[in-house]
Amino acid sequence: MSFILFIEQVLNGIQFGVMLFLMAAGLTLIFGVMGLINLAHGSLYMVGAFAAAAVAKLTGSFLLALVASLGAAAAAGALVELLVIRRLYDRDHLDQVLATFALILIFSEGTRWIFGSFPLFLDVPELLSGPVTLPGGIQYPLYRLTLIMIGLAVAAGLFLLISRTRIGIRIRAGENDREMIAALGVDISKLYTVIFALGAALAGFSGALVGAIQSVQVGMGEPVLILAFVVIVIGGIGSIKGALIAAILVGLTDTLGRFLLPVFFNTFMASSDATTVGSALASMLIYILMAGVLLFKPSGLFGEKQG
């Protein structure tokens, strides 16, 4: 095992983590402000990826594709919020789970209907394809490095949005006391639609960005959604900071686990057994991490009280 390979895997882990953060940030905002669990967040991720793939095929421009992913996911999010989600805010979590599960069925089958069952491909733009040489002579794909940069930039932007802007103040106020800010004259239902659309746009954006290194297909959103849930459980609900740290932790744990565990087992087992045991255990590693966090901090690393 070479050091360079290890650094490469660390970067892969961080890249995976920041993309998870884009998903988890929207989920945790929506839960923090509206108290809603949204299973259909993965569908918005998928909508973003499909919109990007379709636009990229039509125009050939990756930048336009990204704009389309933001626009389509935000529009889908706002539409869903207006039609369905706003009826769910004062319902119990069971109703929210079921209604958003129903939305997954509608979104997934609807997408399959329009685009067919075969995966679409979204190419990495030429400008960003190919490797880049990092200090220390490490060759790393430029596109993945760009993803890390974009993810961190979005994270910084979100922090600024929430701590410095008027809408951020309203979001924080909404997390503290929904009734009170409505009583103070803030149009709460418009705020909810905006937050939901913002979360949706983040999900769609990450769907498009990740879609360029994986394939774009129906059902691509839900595995990511479940990982984002793990991130939120570890980070604590409602905490953007917690989501960022937990996302990178999950990204690193998963990537390094898949890389290191087989190597570790190989030190005292036959090679084929080591690969089997190592990769089976690696697939469970983040859930074991989550179980560990639950044992010691049931409300997450940065969560406050549970509600």
Partner: protein, 327 residues
């Protein structure tokens, strides 16, 4: 209560009558559909114990359904190839006997439910939903990456397992087994709901603090309920695997968890026969809509959305009126 009881009797009769008619009319496919209804209903009854009675919104019941299925798959595949499951420290052979398989399926899924419950019941509300969903997904990835029992491809069992005195390959006889098991479990869960345990559990759902104040440990109460619930869903998983003579990681997917929950909700949460009505409706929809369009899940989604938004009592709620207090 009387209308609901009438509905329950009618539903039981219907679930028995349709396959009997199909048996006479020689329509084995219909019998298979009825068997699926019975098995899905059984899985739903298991979930309903946690969800309806205990208020525990578990989105990870596919884990127990899958463990039940794999218990059957592993035992039967070893019996099929005459290779022992383990030899040291003591010899364990595979088996093709249904009662033994059911026992193993229930014990192993109960154990998994106990472990998952121990961790996830430390949380409440939306955390609990996310944690159970995540643990369910863990089993899915494990099943895919563990190659010993088929990995992603799953395991095929060539001959259905045996039950003393019956020919289980005959669809109507296998249906009878599932129907009787469903009846037994329904009886058990009706008794449980009226027992002091069930009342305390129901009380903990409505107001946990009050139940704690009178000295009942709600954590233990919920853990027991979750474990029992997992065991019943595991039994359903073993039967489902036997019906298909095939197990695969699909049984572990989050969609399976969602579907088991749909059975409960379409029928009516915390109604005894809710999962039976829901599973019957689900299979009926799959049969009718699936024949109309390849994309029948869209209609299912719309229907589910309408039920959640406008008909919260589910099918039984619509037909029998709302007599169960909803908190």
């Amino acid at each position: 209560m009387r209308r609901e009881a009438l509905f329950n009797i009618a539903l039981s009769a219907l679930l028995l009558g349709v396959p009997l008619w199909a048996w006479i009319a020689d329509e084995p496919y219909i019998i298979t559909l009825a068997t699926r209804v019975a098995i899905f209903a059984l899985a739903g009854v298991g979930l309903n114990l946690a969800l309806g009675l205990g208020g525990l919104v578990s989105l990870g019941h596919a884990a127990f359904f899958g463990i039940g299925g794999y218990a059957m798959g592993i035992l039967a595949s070893h019996a099929q190839s005459y290779s022992p499951i383990m030899e040291v420290p003591f010899l364990i052979q595979g088996t093709k006997s249904m009662p033994l398989i059911w026992l193993v399926a229930m014990l192993s899924s109960a154990f998994a439910a106990f472990m998952i419950g121990l961790l996830s019941l430390r949380t409440t509300g939306v955390y609990f939903i996310m944690v159970t969903l995540a643990f369910g997904q863990m089993f899915y990835y494990f099943a895919i990456s563990w190659p010993a029992y088929g990995g992603e491809d799953g395991l095929s069992i060539y001959v259905r397992n045996g039950f003393p005195g019956l020919n289980t390959l005959d669809p109507i006889q296998f249906f009878a087994i599932c129907y009787v098991l469903l009846g037994l479990v329904l009886f058990f869960s009706a008794r449980l709901a009226r027992s002091s345990f069930g009342l305390a559990l129901s009380g903990a759902r409505q107001n946990a603090e009050r139940v704690q104040t009178v000295g009942i440990d709600t954590f233990r109460l919920r853990l027991v309920a979750f474990t029992l619930s997992g065991a019943i869903t595991g039994l359903a998983g073993a039967l489902f695997a036997d019906l298909n003579r095939f197990v695969s990681p699909t049984m572990f997917t989050w969609q399976t968890s969602g579907e088991i929950m749909i059975f409960v909700i379409l029928g009516g949460v915390s109604r005894l026969y809710g999962p039976v009505a829901g599973a019957a409706l689900f299979i009926l929809l799959e049969y009718v809509l699936g024949g109309l369009s390849e994309f029948w899940h869209i209609y299912l989604g719309v229907l589910l959305l309408l039920v959640v938004l406008f008909a919260r009592g589910g099918l039984i709620g619509v037909l029998a009126g709302r007599e169960v207090a909803h908190d």
